[in-house]
């Protein structure tokens, strides 16, 4: 019995050796395969390195010497990642894109108001215009000085118009980017929902095995989505991920998606949101039921992602009658430029008409019609200018609606800086002299009288009320330009700091996440060497086992 027993044990040991060695060969091959795949995907964005989980093989064989073991088995191949770090990375990516989406647009404003920009020349053009008036006041009948006033006035109007139009173009660019980004969000949410379906299907079928590659792809898509909007995710038990905006609206719910839409005429408004360029801005909405839209603009603007950043730059409003009622960075700057245009259309035109607070009758030297200001300035032809005589607008006609003879009734439902123009083209038609005969209907003037030119020139040293829809400031004209420059500088600097801060945060979390999931080729090569060595050892074991059996066979 002892012999039988020993013989039985011997054959059992050989089988065990062979079995263990064989399982080791398989395990090391699997490790080599995973290391190869890791190296192959070392540069694949969003790839999480894989590791083979090995476990001691167990058996239902309850014979003696269980302690000898049954070899090794491949328990699983898993992705190495960190969901908390990934979540933080999504949040920081949203924040970074919130700031970086505005960066290039704000840098355009920075350049616009920089030393070589049109807006940067604003102060110089204003000064040149008033200097030309000071020169004309010295020698008002000089056609050279008069021509200079026309040239500088036209340049000033052009500069204000171009500056405003550049702001309008930046707003339009932001709006176009929003349309583009909304489209990208819809593409991404659609892809995420498709992957949700595939992951749930695969994992249901394969039980213990995860759809590693699909999960990697979905994580990469979520990271791309975070560039556009800020969201929360919830993973369900079947492996699907739902994507919720900050107000709880689900863009992705399992395999279903809710599309974002960019519309100028959603169901909740009667008139489109006016843009600085005269067109319409788009609301970002979702359509929960046919024809019933919910505005997401405010929610997105206050959260993160590039769409939020672009909305903050471009501006949003529940409703607005003027493009300047919209609340956004670029609109805030545009209001100041608009106030300059309105100053030239009102105060400057009023002084040009001969209004002078030092004169009797409330500034009206020729009170022909009671309650109506009668012009007292005269050009070299003996004519007096109309209500909007020096600066006017193209495209719309400004009228003295209340009939008081003063240019003080500008419309508030339209922008005027984009339409500003200098009206006088004939030097002799510049009304620089004052009517010296107060009798209504009788004009007497001296061609060398530069009283009106001097009064106009003095405007830049005085405080005035500068106003535009949602903006009011009392001070000098140079203060308004300074205010604009300060605001642009602050916007750009603040954005630059926020972008740098967010960028550092994204870099930090990317690095931390990469430390966990990234492929280190040296590490993989070390694993390959290690696996190769163990593979060789397992091969040796098979040979040894073979030798053992052969020895026994030779005995027989």
């Amino acid at each position: 019995m002892l012999y039988d027993y020993d013989h039985h044990q011997m054959s059992n040991f050989s089988a065990r050796i062979l079995g263990s060695a064989l399982s080791a060969l398989k395990a090391q091959q699997a490790k080599l395969a995973v290391a190869s795949n890791n190296i192959a995907n070392a540069q694949t964005p969003g790839y999480s390195r894989r590791v083979v989980n090995l476990a001691e093989k167990s058996s239902l064989d309850f014979s003696n010497f269980r302690g000898l073991g049954y070899g090794v088995e491949i328990q699983s191949v898993r992705r190495v990642t960190d969901s908390l770090l990934h979540r933080n990375l999504l949040i920081e990516t949203s924040q970074l894109n919130f700031h970086s989406s505005q960066k290039s647009l704000l840098e355009k404003l920075d350049s616009l108001f920089g030393t070589n920009g049109v807006g940067g020349a604003l102060q110089a053009k204003i000064d040149e215009f008033f200097q030309s008036l000071e020169n004309a006041a010295q020698n008002p009948s000089s056609s050279a000085y008069r021509q200079a006033v026309i040239q500088k006035g036209s340049l000033l109007a052009d500069t204000i118009r171009l500056t405003f139009n550049s702001l309008a173009a930046a707003q339009r660019e932001a709006n176009s980017l929003i349309l583009d980004h909304v489209e990208k969000v819809n593409q991404l949410t659609s892809q995420i929902s498709t992957l949700n379906q595939q992951i749930a299907g695969f994992e249901a079928q394969n039980g213990h095995e995860s759809a590693l590659d699909l999960r990697d792809q979905r994580d990469a898509l979520l990271q791309q989505l975070a560039q556009y909007v800020n969201f929360d995710t919830v993973e369900t038990s079947n492996g699907q991920v739902s994507v919720f905006l900050k107000n709880g609206i689900a863009l992705v719910n399992g395999s279903n998606t809710l599309e974002l839409k960019a519309l100028t005429n959603p169901s909740f408004v009667s008139t489109p949101l006016p843009a600085l360029d005269g067109g319409a801005l788009h609301y970002v909405v979702v359509e929960l039921s046919p024809g019933a839209h919910i505005d997401l603009s405010e929610v997105l603007k206050d959260s993160g992602g590039s769409i939020g950043g672009l909305l903050k730059f471009r501006g949003t409003a529940a409703t607005a009658t003027s493009a300047l009622d919209v609340e956004g960075s670029v609109v805030s700057v545009a209001r100041k430029i608009e106030s300059l245009a309105r100053f030239f259309l009102t105060t400057v035109n009023q002084i040009y008409r001969g209004w002078d607070p030092n004169l009797p009758n409330n500034g009206d030297e020729n009170p022909g019609t009671p309650g109506v200001f009668d012009a007292s300035s005269v050009d070299l032809y003996g004519n007096s200018p109309g209500v909007y005589g020096l600066f006017g607008t193209s495209g719309i006609t400004l009228t003295d609606t209340n009939g008081d003879g003063l240019p003080n009734d500008l419309p508030n439902n339209t922008t005027l800086a984009d339409k500003l123009k200098f009206l006088v083209s004939d030097p002799n038609s510049l009304a620089f002299a004052r009517d010296l005969d107060p009798t209504p209907g009788t004009v007497t003037f001296a061609p060398g009288d530069g009283t009106i030119a001097a009064n106009l020139a003095a405007l830049r040293y005085q405080n005035h009320l500068f106003s535009a829809p949602n903006f009011s400031y009392n001070g000098k004209i140079s203060d308004v330009v300074n205010l604009t420059n300060s605001q642009v500088g602050a916007l750009v600097s603040s954005n630059s700091q926020n972008t740098a801060y967010s960028s550092a945060r994204v870099e930090f979390f990317t690095q931390k996440l990469e430390e966990v999931r990234g492929v280190d080729t040296d590490e993989e090569l070390a694993k390959i060497i290690e696996a190769q060595r163990y593979y060789e050892m397992a091969s040796k074991l098979i040979r040894i086992s073979d030798n053992l059996l052969e020895t026994i066979l030779q005995i027989i």
């Binding site: 000089s142 061609p447 009283t451 001097a454 330009v481 750009v492 080729t521």
Partner: protein, 328 residues
Amino acid sequence: MTRVPDSIRFGTLLSGIYNHKREFDRAAKEVSSGKRVFAPSDSVNYPQIVAHEAKLQDISSFKSRIESLRGYFAFVEENLAQANNVLVRAKEIAVQAANETLDPAARERLSHEVFALRDHLVRLANSTYQGQYIWGGADSDDPPFDALTYTVPASGPASQRYVFDAEPGTNVFNKVKVSYDFEVTVGAHGGDTFSRAIGALERLGRALAGYSTNPPTGLPNGTGSAYSFPTDYPLQTQAIRQAIDLLEEARANDIGNQRTIVGSKMTRLDIAEKLITMDKDASLEFLAKERDSDIAEAATRLTRSDQLLQASYQVLARISRLSLIDFI
């Protein structure tokens, strides 16, 4: 043990290279332009920089205007100096003529020079600067003194009279800004400056030529009559002596006052120029401090970023060669 995957290693290096490139470009821009502020975000003082640049432009404009006004006032001063000389010479003639040893014929000969002096004075009063009558106020396209005639005589120099044409605008004067705090009034009332002097010369010339002028005091009104000699010889002498007083009054009070005013305006221009020069210096100092680049410092940064960039390239090239694969 912290893992360092390849993506981090290369990403960090690339990020460093981008930063060095940015620093290099920035330093190169500062060195080549001589400025370090180009846009509102470059400095919190950008609005002040713009304001100071605008101030320099204003100062340039003020300076140009001051130079132009200096030319103008030099011309006016010369005009008044000549008028003063005319009156001094006229007074000499009047003093000579008042001597009762001269008979009416000798006095009549002196009248020719007096009328010539009067015509010269009228030319001075009607002179133009850059096409504008300087003594016409805002009525600058019209000669301030118009030629009229006396009833007696009907012809000849003694019949000529010149009267200030008080058209609208002759008492309107333009004020020119020559600094932020100073403005200068350009022009003066031609009537107040020259009327009495021209009137005095006319009275003297007509008296020497043998005609009385009405009224006996004040500005001539264009009437008068011929003296009858020898009866009216004392009246002629009296008229010549009165003319001496009138000439002196016109010279001292009208021409002289105006010269004083012009002199004070020239002084005002000098003060304004000094003030704006101080303003200019302050603005230039501010701009040098806040806007202009420190070339040495920028050049150092340029060199430093260049070296760092080269070092980054070398490290990247070396690291890309380092791998376990080479040792297997």
